[in-house]
Symmetry: C2
């Protein structure tokens, strides 16, 4: 008889949730395999509903088919506006410390564990924070044991791109770049791309943007996105790719110029399309990098956390 | 009898208009004095009306009381979406070249002259453009003859901040920074200031932002606006002033680090509240600066242009 089938005849399962600002993604996990998925609104997009209601509605269909032993949440679920606030855990912190700092709440029939974010110094000794990325990182360390040895740099590109130093399996320092959010704002709301030219991708323009960022500071270069269209007949598609290259290039250059950042191969964790873009930028700076799928990593991290909470109970 | 009174008994006047993206400002000028003012929507805010209609409606009340000999427009009025497109004039260009490149159009009873913008190389040899600022600059040169001698740096802060090198009275090079637009986007639309803390100004925070920009690159520092609120209990007012300091500081540092920019005293031209803010930032970089009122400068420039067109006709 399958070990995952309880005496009731129903399967024993964990629910693993990555609940960020823009999206809730929930996975029904049975004996280490995802058997169902669901999604819901992010913490910043609840539209007046309470987080508890959204969670109930999203997970309710699974109650009928499985014994849900544990529900694990990471990300903005633990922020002030989330299901319940979990204070940031101070770096340095490894996976076990992170799971131990989770906040347990009862939500109806379920025992819900909300993972903390992590607060660390950045590479300029200012405060920095993450919520959710720590779970991807601890997942990556599960998948590649070598990442937990020595000093490693992990990069998690996205709305808020995180560069994280891991020392012997502990998150030690982190630096956030606003790259994804800046690109969204500048490409949809600013005067830089409001000229109405032809759209379409232009991969040369991305590289031109990265090379520009390698030579000049970001503030000085942004307006070239507009003037290239006004007086050099560049298309809106060209300008969009150029802007993407400028912003990603400025991020990469900024970290490479920062003192005391560990060298060697970078590990990119995220959406494969986005990590490919970062890999292209890194190649122009002659920096080696490997990529891991962010979804795979966050599942591995949530699964490790669920394993911890099951042992506890 | 006053020379401005024509034989009809009505005064002879010029209409001087600064028509930018966000606002039309019109001045009725009689013998070098403004006797009435009017305003209307900017070229980017016409709400479906034609520029010609807006101009007619704004100026119509003055037709009854004055003989309008000339109407001079500067700014976005000459852009693709303006009253009539006037191609950018290529730098180097002095005031007379600029007036000579104006486009004359008839608009009902009036002879309207639209001034061109200027296209130049920036200090990194990329294309850059201005529309409207050239008129303020040529006005400043009318007001302070010394500015037309040798190599001078003029700074016109605003939505798109312009740093302009004037050589012997000619606009030679220019560099645009997106500072004002970035501040508007980041302070109203981004995650940096959406945490809902206390508002209010904090002048210390502005200086902290400028000093931060002097040490670190802009990309690396922006997120500190958010993390300072999340983990260091800074108010939204603090964060807003910090962000303003970061952006203005990044602009100033960028130009000071650019090779071949003329040294010496900078001349700031703009809204007095804004030029004061830039003066504070410049002091932290030990750079001397004087300020001129942007409204006074643009009027002086438009008046000089009107004088040129009257002589012509």
């Amino acid at each position: 008889m399958n070990a995952a089938i309880a005496q009731t005849g129903r399967v024993r399962a964990a629910v693993l949730c990555d609940w960020g600002g823009s999206r809730l993604r929930a996975f029904l996990d049975v004996a280490g395999r995802v058997t169902a998925q669901a999604s819901g609104p992010g913490i910043a997009r609840l539209g007046g509903q309470s987080p508890a209601t959204v969670l109930q509605q999203t997970l309710a269909p699974w109650s009928a088919e499985a014994d849900i032993e544990v529900v694990v949440l990471c990300g903005m679920a633990g922020s002030r506006t989330g299901l319940a606030e979990v204070p940031y855990l101070r770096a340095p912190a490894d996976a076990d410390t992170c799971w131990a700092a989770a906040r347990a709440v009862r939500d109806g029939e379920w025992s819900v564990s909300i993972l903390p974010g992590i607060q660390a110094r950045n590479f300029r000794d200012a405060a920095d924070v993450m919520r959710g990325e720590e779970t991807q990182i601890f997942g990556a360390l599960q998948l590649q044991a070598a990442l937990a040895q020595g000093r490693r740099m992990l990069v998690l590109p996205g709305t808020h791109s995180k560069w994280v130093e891991v020392r012997d399996g502990r998150i030690a320092r982190l630096q956030t770049y606003l790259t994804g959010e800046l690109f969204d704002l500048l490409s949809t709301q600013s005067s830089l791309l409001r000229l109405g030219g032809a759209a379409g991708a232009d991969e040369d323009a991305f590289e031109i943007g990265v090379r520009n960022a390698a030579r000049h500071d970001l503030a000085a270069s942004l307006f070239e996105t507009r003037s290239a269209q006004l007086v050099e007949d560049r298309s809106a598609g060209w300008a969009r790719a150029f802007l993407s290259g400028l912003l990603i290039g400025a991020e990469v250059r900024s970290m490479l110029e920062t003192p005391n950042v560990p060298g060697g191969e970078l590990t990119l964790i995220g959406d494969p399309q986005l990590t490919r873009r970062y890999q292209r930028a890194l190649r122009l700076f002659d920096v080696p990098g490997q990529s891991l799928d962010g979804d795979v990593c966050v599942l591995a991290g949530l699964r490790a956390a669920a394993h911890h909470f099951r042992k506890e109970s």
